[in-house]
Structure formats: structure tokens, C-alpha cells
């Protein structure tokens, strides 16, 4: 098969599969935030990638601070929290100043947030420079472990996966097991009724949007462990994460996870056997093809809108 022995193909599959898993984790974190915002509120946030970049730059800046003051081994946990808080706060502000005026015009939200993303990219470029920067990783994130001599699994990938799992679980708890989640779901299902029973739907919108942005911030922190950050980093993932959300079926948490997994794995494995661009083309084409046959996505909620 392609000039490799069977054992080699097996090892390649494991390693590419694992590379796919790190990509899956970042994609999942990005898509979770988007799924909350798009699935629950119907808002297209084209600036979502830039919220991820906020998280990434926060981590990079904190790592510089950590190097200067010598707490490199511990800062990363703080960085994740700070990235979340910062992205959450900016998301809250954006919802208040921009998004809330546009809920009734989803296509216009798309254009306005695209404008926002351009502005944010230029702010990043002006303040951090056009060059890509990378975070100083703590020692426990470096290196790799080898279950067999031919298989090499990087630790940062494992960490990112763990982080994605924790955040996903957190989102699940928030959406389905908390008072807040109840209010969010009620608002999505019937805004007028939710308002009538005393839920402050505007506040719910604001927190939901900010939460989605906050998760993108965490995605950014995770991103710094596998690649370096530049002003346009966010744009790399935005189309992919939209495809994840649409493909998985908006408003379905499980669908988002499944489709993030499928898309990341397909790209990662195809990229090894074809060129990287053709792998991406093949994956995206497949998704578009499936979406044409099943526009509601893989796991659509049964609610008629």
C-alpha cells in the first residue's frame, strides 16, 4: 500500500490519527463555542477565530511574564483561566454594543462580525507585530512518550485532548444540568414564553454569547501548545469550525463532537496520503456533498422551527 509495509501503515495510521486528535481537540473547542452561539442563538460569529487569537496571545504574553519571573511550570493553568475570562469579557462587550441590535438580521450579523474580525486582526497586528510568536511551554508539556519504538506520541497533544474533554464536559454540565443552561434552552425553544415566565432573555443571550467567546479563548490557549500564533491565526480555523457546527447539526452537542472528530481525522489521515491541500479539498468536498443530501446535518434536533 503506497510502498509501505503493513506494520508501517499501522504506525502511520496511529500517529496521523493522533495528530488528528490534537487537531480534533482545538477544532472541538472552537466549534463548541460556535455551536453554542450559532446553534442556540442563530448568530453567525465570523469573529470567532479572533476570540481564539485573543486567548492565544494572552497565553503567549503570560508565558513571557512567566519566563521573566520564573514560574514557567505553573503559568499554563492560569493562562487558560485568564484567556477564558478575557475572551468572555470582550465577548460580553461585543454582544452589548453590536450583536444585540442585529438578532433579527442573521445575514447582517455575519457581515458585521466579519468587519469586527478585520478590526481585531489589525489590532493584533498593530500591538503584537505581524510576526508569529509562540509561547514558552512548561517542561511537563514538552517531549513525547513511546508506547512502542515506532510510535511517538507528543505530550502536548495528550494535554490538549484532556483540556478539550474537560471543557466539553463543563459545557455539557452547564447546558443540561444547571439553572443557567435551563434558561438558555428555554430561551432557544420559545423566547416569548421564556420571557413570560420571568427569564431575562436578553441577559441569557449576552451570557451565552460571552460564554461561546470564552471557550474560543480556551481554544486559543490550547492552540499555543501545538502551533505559533499570528494576527491571522483565527482565520485558519473559522471555516473548518463552521463546517463542524453545520455538519454536526446545529444545537446538537453530540453532533458537534462527532463531526469535529470526523473532520479532523479525515483531514489528518488524507493529508498524509495526498498533498495537504488535496486532503483538505477532499474533506471539505465530502462534507459539502453530505450536507447537500442532508442539509440539517448529521444529528439534527427533532424540533421543527
Amino acid at each position: 500500500m503506497f510502498g509501505y509495509s503493513m506494520a508501517e501503515v499501522g504506525n502511520i495510521m496511529v500517529m496521523q490519527g493522533f495528530a488528528g486528535l490534537s487537531m480534533f481537540s482545538v477544532l472541538l473547542l472552537m466549534a463548541l463555542g460556535l455551536a453554542i452561539i450559532f446553534g442556540q442563538m442563530g448568530v453567525i460569529n465570523m469573529a470567532h477565530g479572533e476570540f481564539m487569537t485573543i486567548g492565544a496571545y494572552t497565553t503567549v504574553m503570560l508565558s513571557k511574564l512567566a519566563v521573566a519571573y520564573g514560574f514557567v511550570n505553573y503559568y499554563f493553568i492560569f493562562a487558560i483561566i485568564v484567556a477564558f475570562i478575557l475572551a468572555f469579557a470582550i465577548g460580553y462587550l461585543v454582544e452589548f454594543t453590536l450583536i444585540r441590535h442585529l438578532y433579527k438580521r442573521p445575514l447582517d450579523t455575519l457581515l458585521a462580525t466579519w468587519g469586527l474580525s478585520l478590526v481585531m486582526q489589525q489590532i493584533f497586528r498593530s500591538s503584537f507585530g505581524a510576526k508569529e510568536v509562540s509561547a514558552e511551554l512548561p517542561e511537563w508539556l514538552l517531549g513525547s512518550f513511546q508506547p512502542t519504538p515506532d510510535i511517538d506520541i507528543p505530550i502536548n497533544g495528550v494535554f490538549v485532548m484532556g483540556l478539550a474533554a474537560v471543557v466539553t464536559f463543563g459545557v455539557f454540565l452547564f447546558m443540561f444540568r444547571s439553572q443557567w443552561g435551563l434558561r438558555v434552552r428555554a430561551t432557544v425553544q420559545n423566547r416569548v414564553m421564556a420571557g413570560a415566565v420571568g427569564i431575562n432573555t436578553k441577559k441569557v443571550d449576552r451570557v451565552t454569547f460571552a460564554l461561546g467567546c470564552g471557550i474560543a479563548g480556551v481554544a486559543g490557549a490550547a492552540f499555543t501548545t501545538i502551533a505559533s500564533t499570528g494576527p491571522t491565526t483565527g482565520t485558519l480555523y473559522i471555516v473548518d469550525s463552521f463546517m463542524v457546527v453545520v455538519f454536526g447539526g446545529a444545537a446538537s452537542l453530540f453532533g458537534t463532537i462527532a463531526s469535529a472528530f470526523g473532520i479532523a481525522q479525515a483531514q489528518s489521515i488524507l493529508q498524509f496520503f495526498m498533498t495537504s491541500s488535496m486532503g483538505k479539498v477532499a474533506t471539505l468536498l465530502t462534507i459539502v456533498g453530505i450536507l447537500m443530501m442532508r442539509p440539517e446535518g448529521l444529528f439534527a434536533s427533532k424540533v421543527r422551527k
Binding site: 453567525i44 438580521r105 442573521p106 445575514l107 469586527l116 478590526v119 481585531m120 489589525q122 468536498l285 459539502v288
Partner: protein
């Protein structure tokens, strides 16, 4: 009954608007600008085709395509392939390993012309391809999506993904498409050198006339019963469907017309600028072209042309002197247009023209003539957005 000329010109106000635009494009700009600047304006006017198609599709049809760049690109590439084949005749490419094929193919170790390049040896077939290929492409996308009632933001996202796929494909398949550099070094068309000043003047006028042709075509569509249905579909799709119309067919048709208009713009772009590259196909150009239409006024055909000229003029001025400021301005423009001027320049004109004595008459008359479908579009449109 409206006469044909009424339909094409759009009443008194339409005539005034068209006459002013014609004066600007056909007389004032060619007289006032040197050929370099005029060529630049010609380039902007090719984007106006796309803005025009978006007025048809998005402003009146409520279908936001974020992939109009791919039709622009397809039209442009068809034209570029023809010109490239003419520029790579066996004599001028005799230093290559395989003479007679475009240089980038030779660099990528291709030894024969790929089959899909063959039709582009003839000009009539090329012109046919410019008009037909993007339309068929649009038909396939439109058929698959609209028949299954995919619309609104889903349609926007999927067209965006398709534009991305196409641009990655063009960049990736370097040997067949020229890769990231695109198709360059275009010289002659049937032996006629397109790089001379006189050729540039002629191409500018051909482009301008084609643009007016497309405006007439779009206006004809919009003022016909079809245009009314399009508006009705945008505002109350279910009602139109329940009245017995096949909504998806209308949408597919509009999408195809929009694709064809964009493709004509793309072909004229290649002729005037002398190259075509994937940077006009992907996500960023596609969405930028939406802002041209939005600035001009998403409902106004003539506004789209002004919007395109204005935004591009701003882009040229600012990106030459303050490149950093430009992205802020562009981003701010997106936000401001959406938040404060949803009807763009045309909306501002409609609002303020009444106060100017000379213009008052025209606007007042026009206001009366407008049927309820036209007049109340803004309000109904916003209400419906939430339901769609």
C-alpha cells in the same frame, strides 16, 4: 402596462440615475483621468458586476452568497486560459521542454495540454465557456441547495466553503492552473495587443457598455413579475410557496443569472488587468464584494456601481498611504453599514434627496409609484430575518 423601455430604464428616476452614471463612467472619468488611473477604474468596474449580481441575489432575493468570487474567478480563468494559450505559441515558448504549452505547465513537468484546456484554443468556445461554465456550476449548487430548502445562513456558509475549496484546488493544482501566482503574462487576443493604451481605452468602454447591459438585464428582471415574486419570496417565502409557485426554481434561476453576471466581470477583469489569480476566488474577495453592494445599497443596481467605485477608491488611497488604517476602515465600514445604513448610499440618497428642490420632484413621484412591496421592504425584511 409598462412598456419595455420603462422596464429597462426604471421610470423617470431610473433614467436620471442611469444618465448620471453614464455621464460619469463614459464621459467624465475617461476625460479626467490618465490611462493608468482609468484602467484602475475599469478594474473596479469589473467588481461592480459582482456587486450588481449581489443586489439581484441578496438585496432582492434575500439569498446571501459568500461565494460570488468563485464565479468571478471562473469567468476570469476561462478568459485567462484562452489568452494564455495564445501567448504560449510554439515559437515564443521554444526554450521549454515541451513547446506550445503554457510556461507554468512546463515548469511542473507536464508534457501535454490537459484535456480541459483544449476548448480554450478557440475564442467562440471561450466566450461560451465564460457564460456557461459558471452558470452550470451555479445550477448544480443551487439545485442541490434550494431544492432541499437550504437557505439563509446555511447557504452563506456552504457557498463560502465551496469558494474555499475552489481556491485551495486552484492553488494546489499548480500544473493545471498556474497555482498561487495564477495565470500571468497575457499579451494578445487574436493578435490584438491588449497591453497598449488604445486597447485599454477600448476595453474600458467595452467593459462599461457590458456593465450597462447587465444593469438593463437586472432591471428588466426586477421590474417584471419575476422581480415581484423575488421580493415576495425574500419577505414571505412560505406564502409564495403556498400560492403555488416553485420557490426553488426561482432561486436557482436568480443564482444562475447572478453567477453569469459575475463571470462576465471576471472575464473583463482578466482582459483589462492582464492576469488572473486565486486571490480573487476565495473567501476574502467574495465577502468584500458583498460590502461593495452593501455600501451602495443592497436594493439599488446603480448604487452597487457607486458603492464599488467608492470602496475601491478608498482602498487604493488608504492602502497606498496608511495600510494599517485601511483594515480598521474596512472593518468599520462593514459594521457601520450594517448597523446604521442598511440601505447604503441609495438609502441616504432617498432620504435626503427630497430636501433638494431640484431632486424633490423626481423622488416624490417615484415614492408614489412604488408599490407596497417596494416601499415596506425594509421593515418586513427585518422582521422576517428572525423567522428564516
Amino acid at each position: 402596462m409598462k412598456t419595455l423601455s420603462d422596464k429597462l430604464l426604471g421610470g423617470k428616476q431610473g433614467v436620471l440615475g442611469l444618465a448620471l452614471l453614464a455621464l460619469l463612467i463614459l464621459v467624465i472619468l475617461p476625460l479626467g483621468l490618465d490611462i493608468f488611473r482609468l484602467n484602475l477604474v475599469g478594474k473596479y468596474l469589473t467588481y461592480a458586476f459582482v456587486a450588481l449580481s449581489l443586489v439581484l441575489l441578496w438585496g432582492n432575493g434575500g439569498i446571501l452568497s459568500l461565494g460570488q468570487g468563485m464565479f468571478f474567478g471562473l469567468g476570469g480563468y476561462c478568459m485567462a486560459m484562452f489568452l494564455k494559450l495564445e501567448a504560449s505559441d510554439p515559437i515564443s515558448t521554444k526554450i521549454q521542454t515541451t513547446p506550445g504549452i503554457p510556461d507554468f505547465m512546463d515548469w511542473n513537468q507536464l508534457t501535454a495540454l490537459p484535456w480541459f484546456w483544449e476548448p480554450f484554443k478557440s475564442l467562440p468556445l471561450t466566450i461560451l465557456a465564460i457564460l456557461i461554465v459558471p452558470t452550470i456550476f451555479a445550477y448544480i449548487i443551487g439545485f442541490a441547495m434550494f431544492k432541499r430548502r437550504v437557505g439563509g445562513v446555511y447557504f452563506a456558509i456552504i457557498t463560502q466553503a465551496i469558494a474555499l475549496i475552489l481556491s485551495i484546488l486552484i492553488v494546489g493544482q499548480q500544473g493545471y492552473t498556474g497555482g498561487v501566482n495564477g495565470i500571468t503574462d497575457l499579451k494578445t487576443m487574436l493578435g490584438w495587443d491588449i497591453r497598449t493604451d488604445s486597447a485599454k481605452y477600448i476595453l474600458y468602454y467595452v467593459n462599461a457598455l457590458l456593465l450597462f447591459g447587465c444593469i438593463f438585464l437586472s432591471r428588466y428582471i426586477l421590474t417584471s413579475k419575476f422581480g415581484m415574486l423575488l421580493l415576495a419570496m425574500r419577505d414571505k417565502e412560505e406564502r409564495v410557496r403556498f400560492s403555488g409557485y416553485d420557490v426553488s426554481d426561482f432561486k436557482i434561476f436568480t443564482f444562475c443569472v447572478a453567477a453569469m453576471i459575475s463571470a462576465i466581470g471576471g472575464a473583463m477583469f482578466t482582459l483589462q488587468v492582464g492576469f488572473m489569480s486565486p486571490s480573487f476566488v476565495g473567501i476574502v474577495p467574495s465577502i468584500e464584494m458583498v460590502i461593495f453592494a452593501a455600501v451602495g445599497g443592497r436594493m439599488s443596481l446603480i448604487g452597487a456601481v457607486y458603492g464599488t467605485l467608492l470602496v475601491n477608491y478608498g482602498k487604493t488611497v488608504f492602502s497606498e498611504t496608511y495600510p494599517e488604517l485601511w483594515l480598521f476602515l474596512m472593518g468599520g465600514l462593514f459594521i457601520a453599514v450594517v448597523m446604521f445604513f442598511p440601505d447604503g448610499l441609495a438609502g441616504i440618497y432617498q432620504k435626503h434627496a427630497r430636501k433638494i428642490p431640484f431632486l424633490k420632484r423626481w423622488v416624490a413621484e417615484e415614492k408614489q409609484k412604488q408599490t407596497d412591496a417596494h416601499a415596506s421592504h425594509g421593515k418586513v425584511g427585518t422582521k422576517l430575518g428572525a423567522e428564516a
